[in-house]
């Protein structure tokens, strides 16, 4: 009797459990679909014929497949030049950022040395308070960086947040390694190069990727500091592509959406696809490093 009731309860629980599982699967699949479908839609528009796009017949698969629009966008001089600028800024910027991050994080990880804690506060303050857009603009203008690659790199060269992640990582390394090198007569710089750096490839991979993403995705510095068309990075190129129609909109008193439809919708889709493509190609291979990074970042500074 007693046993029977327990069995019944178990069964009720297992039915309920199964329902919970089904809900979980459905929710996750729904979220995956919601994330994925916009991409499918924009890719379909980019590779469908213009007439199909204009008549609004494209949903999740291409109709009258063609690659002409995509080729035209990716082959255009403006796109290629912007692509070149973006690659250049991303590579130069990330290398410079990694360098300054490492040489800052390493000494700051030596908490027991005098003045280090005070210097750390000096760094953390800049995370909490900033001069803001206008004074920063004045500075960049004042030191003559307007319309130069430097304006795209220098304002974001050192991320204190990333630096703290590396610093925390260094603090977690076993002290005995450094001691051994010290006894062998190695100086601080040699220890950093020969002991610490080889041990920190995982954290540097993650932080390097964080920097690369922020350089690649940055448009705001370009927007306010760059007016020379030959220095415009990819994100700004895309923004101008999207805005061209809305500027027309304000002049001609059309709504933005109205103009969007009269302008070549397929070209805009192709531009979105072309700018997203480099990230899509690299992303699956480096995804795990990002995930590691955010869990590292949750360590207290």
């Amino acid at each position: 009797m007693e046993r029977n009731r327990f069995a019944k309860r178990r069964m009720k629980v297992s039915v309920q459990d199964r329902a919970v599982s089904v809900v979980c699967y459905l929710f996750v699949l729904f979220m995956v679909a919601v994330t994925f479908l916009p991409f499918l839609n924009v890719v379909s528009k980019a590779v469908s014929s213009e007439s199909m796009v204009i008549s609004g017949q494209i949903s999740f698969y291409p109709k009258e497949f063609q690659l002409g629009t995509l080729k035209a966008v990716m082959g255009s001089k403006v796109f290629l030049n912007s692509f070149k600028i973006s690659v250049l800024v991303t590579v130069l910027g990330s290398v410079g950022s990694l360098f300054i991050t490492v040489i800052t994080a390493y000494p700051l990880s030596k908490k027991q040395l005098p003045f280090i804690k005070g210097l750390l506060v000096f760094f953390v303050i800049t995370m909490l308070f900033s001069g803001g857009m206008v004074p920063t603009y004045m500075l960049v203008k004042g030191i003559g960086l307007l319309d130069s690659l430097g304006a795209l790199i220098m304002p974001m060269l050192l991320s204190v947040y990333n630096m703290l992640i590396v610093k925390n990582y260094y603090e977690g390394l076993p002290e005995s390694l450094e001691e051994a090198a010290k006894i062998d007569g190695a100086g601080n710089i040699r220890i950093l190069l020969q002991v610490i750096l080889p041990l920190s490839t995982p954290v540097l991979a993650t932080i390097g990727l964080f920097y690369m993403v922020s350089y690649w995705n940055d448009y705001f510095n370009a927007l306010i500091y760059i007016s020379d068309p030959s220095l415009k990075p990819l994100q700004l190129y895309l923004r101008e592509m999207i805005l061209q129609s809305s500027q027309m909109a304000s002049q001609m008193d059309f709504t933005i959406d109205d103009v969007m439809n009269k302008s070549p919708d397929g070209i805009r889709s192709a531009a979105v696809v072309a700018v997203t493509l480099p990230i899509l190609v690299v992303y699956p291979f480096v995804q795990k490093y990002f995930v590691k990074g955010i869990t590292m970042g949750s360590v207290k500074g």
């Binding site: 479908l37 008549s55 040395l113 001069g131 206008v134 601080n188 923004r239 990230i279 995804q287 207290k300």
Partner: protein, 312 residues
């Protein structure tokens, strides 16, 4: 405690002697410190222009001092209430509607036992975080366009009237909240996924032995296990209530939705760099930074007390 040779100050040597001994370490800090002074501290000093009637030709020293006039002008302006309200409302809506999503997602992902499916789902859901707001805006301007856009295709298929999402003041904030959820939901879930992974497996086993259903396990084991993470994230979110969403709004809004979409920072950008009212917009920006600072510091104190965790 172990002492590193030559690094730990001994009782005899003065701080300066230790510095001299480890001079190379301190020299390494020079570029970073110089960088912060030039690119962060000088602009903070530049905020004095908020108390001036700054004139590019006269510079900081030659411009006329006006005290708090710029701030008075700000508080008297009707724009102030509009941008203050918009900033607060948009970020509050995001907290109410977007904040719970990654928690739900993380808990539900945890119930998925099919590993390949779990991995693929995570990969897809994290992706939008790595796209710039320019790309995401481009994507959604396409999808939400009133004719030919995916969403309006569906609306008209069901006999509705097309909606001008991007230029309709009744819809613009909803668009901001939903696209923010779309972009950041997956990435924000990682923190909770990591927290759930840290919950002791024995607790689940014990609960199963006691006959707890899955729902009971989620309620009595998973949630208590991640509550401190939730509190910390919530407080961080509150700290950004005056500053969140700049890139998003700047890339999505247009003149027809200034009424509901214009936030403090987009206003600073337009007035300051667009119309070159440097002093006034520096004052607006400073007002925003100070509130942000107070919120972050206060939030951190609350978090330390409540959850025993803090950002620094």
């Amino acid at each position: 405690m172990k002492k590193a040779v030559g690094i730990t100050p001994t009782g005899h040597s003065s701080p300066l002697a230790v510095v001299r001994k480890n001079l190379s370490l301190y020299l390494m800090l020079v570029p970073g410190v110089l960088y912060l002074i030039i690119f962060k501290y000088i602009p903070i000093g530049g905020l004095v222009m908020a108390f001036q009637d700054f004139n590019v030709f006269a510079g900081f020293t030659g411009s006329e001092w006006v005290g708090l006039a710029q701030f008075q002008k700000l508080f008297a302006s009707p724009d102030f209430y509009k941008i203050f309200r918009n900033t607060l409302l948009i970020n509050t809506y995001k907290i109410i509607f977007v904040f719970p999503l990654p928690i739900m997602l993380a808990i539900m992902l945890n119930e998925i036992r099919c590993m390949p499916l779990k991995k693929v789902s995570q990969t897809v859901i994290y992706l939008p975080h790595f796209l710039s707001w320019i790309i995401v805006s481009g994507l959604f301007i396409n999808i939400l366009s009133p004719s030919g856009g995916l969403v309006n295709q569906m609306i008209t298929a069901f006999g509705g009237e097309p909606i001008f999402f991007m230029s309709d003041n009744r819809w613009f904030r909803t668009v901001l909240v939903l696209t923010d959820a779309w972009k950041e939901m997956g990435w924000s879930a990682i923190v909770y996924i990591a927290a759930i992974a840290g919950v002791e497996q024995e607790l689940y086993e014990a609960a199963t032995v006691d006959g707890a259903s899955k729902l009971q396990q989620i309620w009595h084991v998973t949630l208590p296990g991640i509550i401190s993470t939730i509190v910390l994230m919530f407080i961080l979110k509150l700290g950004s209530i005056m500053s969140g969403g700049f890139d998003q709004v700047l890339t999505m809004y247009n003149a027809s939705v200034y009424e509901t979409g214009d936030i403090i920072q987009t206003y600073v950008y337009r007035i300051g760099l667009g119309k070159m009212q440097y002093s006034f917009s520096a004052a607006v920006g400073m007002f925003n930074s100070v509130i942000g600072l107070v919120l972050t510091v206060a939030g951190n104190m609350v978090s330390r007390r409540l959850a025993g965790r803090s950002i620094w």
